[in-house]
């Protein structure tokens, strides 16, 4: 089962394939460091361009960018208290106070080492779990896949936070987009308005570029960001081999945060920022000195940065084995695979083992490279990059987006479609509607419908086929627990409060 993994290694070490990872990591760190530019955006802009590249070069770039961006977000988070990506918000809590105390250099070193550890853990999880899972998922027929999709839709609840209504509206919008096009069984047109270009449905890449890349770029042009950079003395960087021993005490946090990150990555719906918050809270809760947290506790940086890198490769576990991506980034990466004619699912591991296992290696190398590349980039001169003229940056990105989207199918229709989604994304952004539920609604809604109808056809209209085996029942149980769990928890919490009040 794992021999393919070893077979794929030489190919990954091929010059161009390895160079792609290096370039990806550097580009990822830069993108991640730019406030407003996220990994999802960078990869969605990139995907259409990878069409002409060898698959492993394209995937290497993506793996590198993903790893790099998840760390890069920490640089402005520590130095300027501006999270470079949403996933780096929790990094600001202790990273910025450290920088103010003159320990910015150490904070960045903690961030880079933790990010690398998280990334390595995630890559190893992908390598160990995906191959056996791919064997199991062959046994997932339409009814099981239907339940996986329903489970995923139910876990959107995790994403909603306090804004349940807005989140649900976002998710419903996504599900609505999923029904555009010909229906999966009979091919009847739905909401196509006679446009042949809409018959195949809305391409996830076009939606993502519009939704995730355009609004931040408009933001980039709208809001001038003024930073004074950072003065050298504040960083106080020491050589990393001298600081490493001081990090030894974080080992528990590293393990815990890696596990949290990997788990959150596998779950459909949640992503890096959620992993970072959860692991930060857990680490603080178990800390012996919770009072130092928020005032420059390096362990806080370690917790957040480990977790936001630990969800990267693991998000690909359901994506590669079932074709159901766990995060928006994983969804774009699936788009990248599809562009290269690689159909995600159990057969991918059999038909293209060199590519799929090579991709896993690239995640591992991307994470390891972080230590070398991230360490040398996290300097003051790099922080000045943030002062690049933003209008220039914004216009370059817009041009890349337009060319990229056009080149997928070679038609202007897609460009207009992308701009339309961009406008919708911009408005949603301003009205504080969350974007991830849209993406998940689109992907999972489509999956749920198609597989439900296939299952019912196989069962000749008998609904009991949906509950015909143990896997289905297990998935139903998981779905119920995801929905009911939080309600019970809230109920118990309010009871506790009542009890407290009564006791007073």
């Amino acid at each position: 089962m794992y021999s393919d993994l070893v077979h794929a290694l030489p190919n990954v070490l091929d010059f161009s394939n390895f160079a792609a990872v290096v370039i990806g990591v550097i580009a990822g760190i830069v993108v991640g460091a730019m406030p407003g530019l996220s990994a999802t955006m960078a990869i969605s802009v990139l995907v259409p361009f990878t069409f002409g590249l060898e698959p492993l070069v394209a995937l290497g770039l993506m793996a590198g960018i993903y790893n790099g961006a998840m760390y890069g977000g920490a640089i402005p988070a520590v130095l300027l208290r501006i999270p470079g990506t949403p996933a780096a918000v929790a990094t600001t809590f202790d990273g910025y106070p450290m920088a103010q105390k003159g320990e910015g250099g150490y904070a960045l070193q903690v961030a880079v080492v933790s990010s690398a550890i998280g990334g390595i853990a995630s890559a190893i999880a992908l390598m160990l779990l995906a191959p056996p899972l791919s064997k199991v998922t062959l046994l997932f027929g339409p009814s099981e896949v239907f339940w996986v999709a329903v489970f995923g839709l139910a876990s959107i609840i995790f994403l909603l936070g306090n804004n349940v209504i807005k989140g649900l509206i976002s998710a419903c919008f996504g599900v609505f987009v999923s029904v555009i096009g010909s229906d999966p069984i009979y091919g009847n047109d739905r909401f196509t308005f006679g446009q042949l270009e809409l018959l195949d449905g809305i391409s996830i890449v076009i939606l993502l570029v519009g939704l995730y890349a355009l609004p931040p770029v408009i933001d980039l042009l709208e809001v001038p960001l003024k930073t004074d950079g950072v003065s050298g003395s504040k960083l106080g960087t020491e050589p990393i081999w001298r600081t490493l021993p001081r990090m030894g005490r974080f080992w528990k946090t590293w393990i815990r945060s890696s596990l949290i990150g990997v788990w959150i990555g596998i779950l459909p719906g949640a992503g890096g920022s959620m992993a970072a918050f959860m692991s930060y809270n857990e680490a603080r809760r178990t800390s012996k000195t919770p009072e130092t947290w928020g005032n420059g506790e390096p362990e806080g940086v370690a917790a957040s940065e480990t977790a936001n890198n630990a969800d990267t490769a693991s998000a690909l576990i359901p994506a590669l084995t079932l074709g159901i991506p766990g995060t928006a980034v994983a969804a774009v990466m699936l788009g990248g695979l599809l562009i290269h004619g690689l159909q995600p699912g159990p057969m991918l591991f059999r038909e293209n083992p060199d590519i799929v296992f090579g991709f896993m290696w690239q995640f591992l190398f991307g994470a390891i490279l972080l230590i070398f590349l991230g360490g040398s980039l996290a300097t003051n001169s790099f922080a000045r990059l943030l002062n690049l003229p933003r209008p220039l940056l914004g216009s370059v990105i817009i041009v890349l987006m337009l060319i990229g989207v056009y080149s997928i199918h070679g038609r202007m229709f897609d460009v207009y479609l992308m701009l339309g989604f961009g406008a919708i994304g911009y408005i949603m952004d301003k009205l504080k509607f969350p974007l991830p539920p849209v993406v998940l609604g689109l992907i999972l809604g489509g999956f749920a419908e198609e597989n439900l109808r296939l299952a019912l056809r196989i069962g000749r209209g008998d609904w009991s086929i949906l509950f015909a085996n143990k896997t289905s029942l297990l998935l139903v149980a998981l779905t119920v627990s995801v929905i009911v769990g939080p309600i019970i928890k809230r109920h118990l919490a309010s009871k506790k409060d009542d009890a407290k009040r009564a006791g007073r």
Binding site: F51, L138, L139, F140, G141, P142, S182, P184, I185, Y186, G187, N188, D189, G194, L196, E197, L199, D200, H340, G341, Q343, G345, P346, M347, E351, H409, G410, R411, E450, L454, R457, I458, R460
Partner: protein, 314 residues
Amino acid sequence: MRKLVAALLVTGLASSPALAEFPEKPVEVIVGYSAGGGTDVMARTVAQFLEKELGEGASIVVKNMPGAGGQIGFTEVSKANPDGYTLGTFNLPAALALTKDREADYDVNSFTYLANFVEDPNTVVVSASSNFETLDEFLAWAKENPGAMTFGLSSLGGNDHFSANMMAAASGAEFTLVPFKGAAMARTALLGGHVSAGTMALSQTTEFKDDLRVLAVLSEERSPFRPEVPTAKELGYDVQMSSLRGIVAPAGMDAEITDKIRAALNAVNENPDFQQMMAKQGNPMAFVSGDAFEQLAKKQDDVAQAIWDETPWK
């Protein structure tokens, strides 16, 4: 007087057949599917050899216009100027079948049929772990249990679907049709045991010889790729269905240009290098040129129409 002569000369030049010069600009071949797929690879292989046959300086550009099951590309070809500079790939029965179940801006008469290159026969295939060893066993069980035999298809309204319908008609059995999104998904479902059988094209089974058992191939003669597999016809069910890929141009093309391109495509087909390259790509060849290709298209059109009339799938 001089002016008149000049004018005559100019009009004379302008109206002289473009043939002598054809092609004086790049020829476009429109492919209705994404780059890298079977049709695209065929188009690029043919283009490479056709360029040489059309003479010095000829250049051929393959343009992918994927979408709507190929309909966007087929429509584009049918509407193009029939001057020989726009050709297109043509997939049978798909291109004509989709004119039955939805509105299309073209029909069987919208094209000048140049040459068909590939014919990939459909099959009746089960998983290697299936109890059915022969087509007769398989059909006997299906007849005893009407509707219990599930067939995984790549879609409704394509050659997979027509194969299942024609097998049902020929044998009197009743199948439950399960249209997946594409041939690869249908095959995965068959391998996972979620459907009992499939009708996928023979080329789809080649990489899965150990996992799939092909009970019959739906062609006139046994395939050179799998000579051990009997045809349905030998077994007493006269069913032929396949996926055909060829090259067409818009209808109403000048006869001389048509002849020139047909001749060039004939020459391409006779080139042993071309044959070798196509074989290497796993393409079962069935070269049909000119009027015979047109007849073939009309026959396919009738088959699709008949199935649509009898059992509309939408």
